[in-house]
C-alpha cells in the first residue's frame, strides 16, 4: 500500500536547506495525513516560510526527500492539488485593475492550461465558494477597493476554485482586524470539518493554533515538535523555541 493510499499525503524526510552559509532547515522529518489541520509556529528565521516554499516547488532543497500524494515532488504534475495563499498576499500587485471575479477565476489557470474552458462543474464550484466565503456582493469590485480582510477571503476563494486537496497559508491573518480573523478561522474550520480539506498554516499566535488546529508543528531550523494540539505542552515548547525570558499569556481573541 502506498503512502497516499494510507492517507499520508505529504511525507518529508531529511530535508535540509541552506541560504549561502546560513542553515535554514536542518534534517527536518514529518508527515501530514489527509484531513489534518496543521498550524506551524516558530521564531522569525526559523524556516517556516522556506519549508512551505519547498513544498510548493518554489525553491529546491539541498537534500532530503519529499513525497506529495505518493509521488516524488519533482514528478508531481497536478500542482493544483496544493493551493497556496502567500504571506499578507505578498508579491501581489494590488494596483492591478482586476475585479474580484477575475482574480477568483485566475485560480483555474493551472487546471485549464492554454486552451481549456471553464466547465459547468467549475462554474458551480465558483458559485459555492462565493457563497461559502460570503464574497458574492464583492464580485464586480476592483481588488484595490477592498479591505485587508476582504482581500484575504478573495485570495482564499481563488485558491479553492481549483478544488485542491491541500490548502497552504502563510500567516493568513497579517493585517486583518480581530473580527475578520474570527470569521476567517471559522471558515477554515468549516473547510476542514465539513469538506475534509487538509490545511497547513503558519502563524505566530500559539493560542490560535491550539484553539483552531488539530495538529501543531514547532520549527526552529530543526523540527522541535509535531503533535496533536491536545498533547501540546505549551510552556515547555515555547521556552524551547523562544528562550526562558518569554512568558505565555492566554487570550481568547474577543
Amino acid at each position: 500500500m502506498s503512502a497516499a493510499d494510507s492517507g499520508q499525503i505529504i511525507k518529508v524526510s531529511g530535508l535540509s536547506f541552506n541560504y549561502g552559509r546560513n542553515k535554514i532547515l536542518d534534517e527536518v522529518n514529518f508527515d501530514v495525513s489527509k484531513g489534518d489541520y496543521l498550524g506551524i509556529i516558530g521564531p522569525n528565521g526559523s524556516g517556516k516560510s522556506t519549508l512551505i516554499k519547498i513544498l510548493l516547488g518554489l525553491i529546491k532543497p539541498d537534500s532530503g526527500e519529499i513525497t506529495l500524494f505518493g509521488e516524488d515532488i519533482s514528478r508531481l504534475k497536478d500542482r493544483f492539488r496544493l493551493a497556496y495563499v502567500p504571506q499578507g498576499i505578498s508579491g501581489t500587485n494590488f494596483d492591478f485593475p482586476a475585479t474580484v471575479n477575475e482574480v477568483i477565476e485566475s485560480g483555474l489557470t493551472p487546471k485549464l492550461g492554454l486552451f481549456g474552458r471553464q466547465s459547468h462543474k467549475d462554474r458551480q464550484t465558483i458559485k459555492t465558494i462565493d457563497q461559502l466565503t460570503g464574497i458574492e456582493k464583492l464580485k464586480d469590485k476592483l481588488i484595490n477597493h477592498l479591505s485587508g480582510g476582504e482581500r484575504q477571503l478573495v485570495f482564499i476563494a481563488r485558491a479553492l476554485v481549483g478544488r485542491p486537496e491541500v490548502l497552504i497559508l502563510d500567516e493568513p491573518t497579517t493585517g486583518v482586524d480581530i473580527a475578520s480573523q474570527e470569521r476567517f478561522y471559522a471558515f477554515l474550520k468549516r473547510l476542514n470539518g465539513e469538506y475534509g480539506m487538509t490545511i497547513m498554516f503558519i502563524s505566530h499566535d500559539v493560542e490560535i493554533i491550539t484553539k483552531e488546529a488539530t495538529h501543531i508543528m514547532c520549527l526552529n531550523k530543526k523540527l522541535v515538535c509535531h503533535t496533536h494540539t491536545k498533547h501540546f505542552d505549551k510552556e515547555k515548547i515555547i521556552k524551547e523555541l523562544y528562550g526562558d525570558k518569554i512568558k505565555t499569556l492566554t487570550h481568547s481573541h474577543q
Binding site: 510548493l56 516547488g57 518554489l58 494596483d95 485593475p97 475585479t99 477575475e102 489557470t109
Partner: protein, 265 residues
C-alpha cells in the same frame, strides 16, 4: 468623399496603424501593470541601433530593428531574473548603450542621416507594400499569442509567486512577453517613430486605467483609445503636414487628460 483615401500611401499607413493600434496597448497593459513601462522605451532605442546596423551593413533596417529588439529583450529579462542588476538599471544600461552605438554608427556612415531621421520621428510616406504584409502577419501572430496566453499573463502580472506555485513557467512566459513587445516596437517604428513608440504602448493604457473597469474592459478601452489616436493622428498629419508620430502621441495625450479629468474624484 474624402480625398485622403484616394492615396495608396495613406491607405498603407492606415492599415499598418490599425494593426499597431490593436497590439501595442494589448501588450502595453501587461507591461504597465507589471511596472515595466520603461521597457518599451528601451526596446525602441535598441531598435534604433538595429536600424543603424541594417543601414550600415546594407540589409533591411526593419530586420535589423526586429533582431536587435528581440535579442536585447531576452538579454534584459535574463539579467533581471538573475538579480545581478536591478530592473531599472538593466533598462538604462541597454537604452543608453544602444543609443550611443547607433549614433556612432550613423556618424561613421555619412549620408545615412536623412533616412535615419525618418525612423526617429516616423513618417506615413515611408510605408511600403512589403511592410504591410510583414505588419499584418507579425501583428496577427502577436495578437493570437496574446489571446492564447492571456490567462497565464494575467496570473503572472497579478503575482509571480502564485504563478510559480501553480507550476507556470514564469521566466519563459516573461521572456515571451518581452519578445512580443520587441516585435511590436519594430512594427510601429515606421509610423510613430522610434522615439515615440513607447507612448503608443503606454499612454492608451494609463488612459484606460482612469475608467476603473475590469481588466478585460481596460484592455478594450486602451485599444479603442489607441485606434482613435492613430487614425486621427494620420488624418491630421496628412491635412496639416505634421509629423505622424508626434501628432498621434498628442492625440493620445488629449485623450489621457480628458480621461483623467472626467474620472477625477
Amino acid at each position: 468623399m474624402l480625398e485622403i483615401f484616394q492615396y495608396d500611401f495613406i491607405a498603407r499607413a492606415l492599415i499598418v496603424g490599425v494593426v499597431i493600434s490593436v497590439i501595442a496597448p494589448l501588450i502595453g497593459t501587461f507591461l504597465v501593470v507589471k511596472r515595466y513601462s520603461l521597457i518599451a522605451d528601451t526596446l525602441s532605442h535598441v531598435s534604433l541601433l538595429g536600424v543603424a546596423i541594417g543601414m550600415f551593413m546594407g540589409f533591411s533596417p526593419f530586420i535589423g530593428a526586429l533582431l536587435m529588439a528581440v535579442l536585447s529583450g531576452v538579454g534584459m529579462e535574463e539579467l533581471r531574473e538573475r538579480k545581478n542588476l536591478l530592473g531599472d538599471s538593466v533598462l538604462a544600461l541597454f537604452l543608453s548603450g544602444s543609443l550611443a552605438i547607433a549614433v556612432v554608427l550613423v556618424s561613421l556612415a555619412k549620408g545615412l542621416n536623412v533616412n535615419f531621421v525618418s525612423y526617429l520621428f516616423g513618417s506615413i510616406n515611408t510605408v511600403s507594400q512589403g511592410d504591410i504584409y510583414t505588419v499584418i502577419i507579425l501583428g496577427l501572430v502577436t495578437f493570437l499569442f496574446m489571446t492564447v496566453f492571456y490567462r497565464q499573463f494575467f496570473l503572472i502580472a497579478l503575482s509571480e509567486d502564485l504563478a510559480r506555485a501553480a507550476g507556470l513557467p514564469v521566466r519563459l512566459i516573461n521572456i515571451l512577453l518581452v519578445i512580443m513587445a520587441a516585435i511590436t516596437v519594430s512594427l510601429a517604428m515606421r509610423i510613430v517613430g522610434v522615439l515615440l513608440i513607447s507612448a503608443l504602448m503606454i499612454i492608451p493604457v494609463i488612459s484606460g486605467l482612469q475608467w476603473e473597469k475590469n481588466f478585460k474592459q481596460t484592455i478594450f478601452i486602451a485599444v479603442l483609445f489607441s485606434l482613435v489616436s492613430v487614425i486621427t493622428g494620420i488624418v491630421f498629419s496628412y491635412y496639416f503636414s505634421l509629423a505622424s508620430g508626434g501628432t498621434i502621441v498628442i492625440v493620445n495625450l488629449v485623450i489621457f487628460i480628458f480621461s483623467y479629468l472626467y474620472n477625477r474624484d
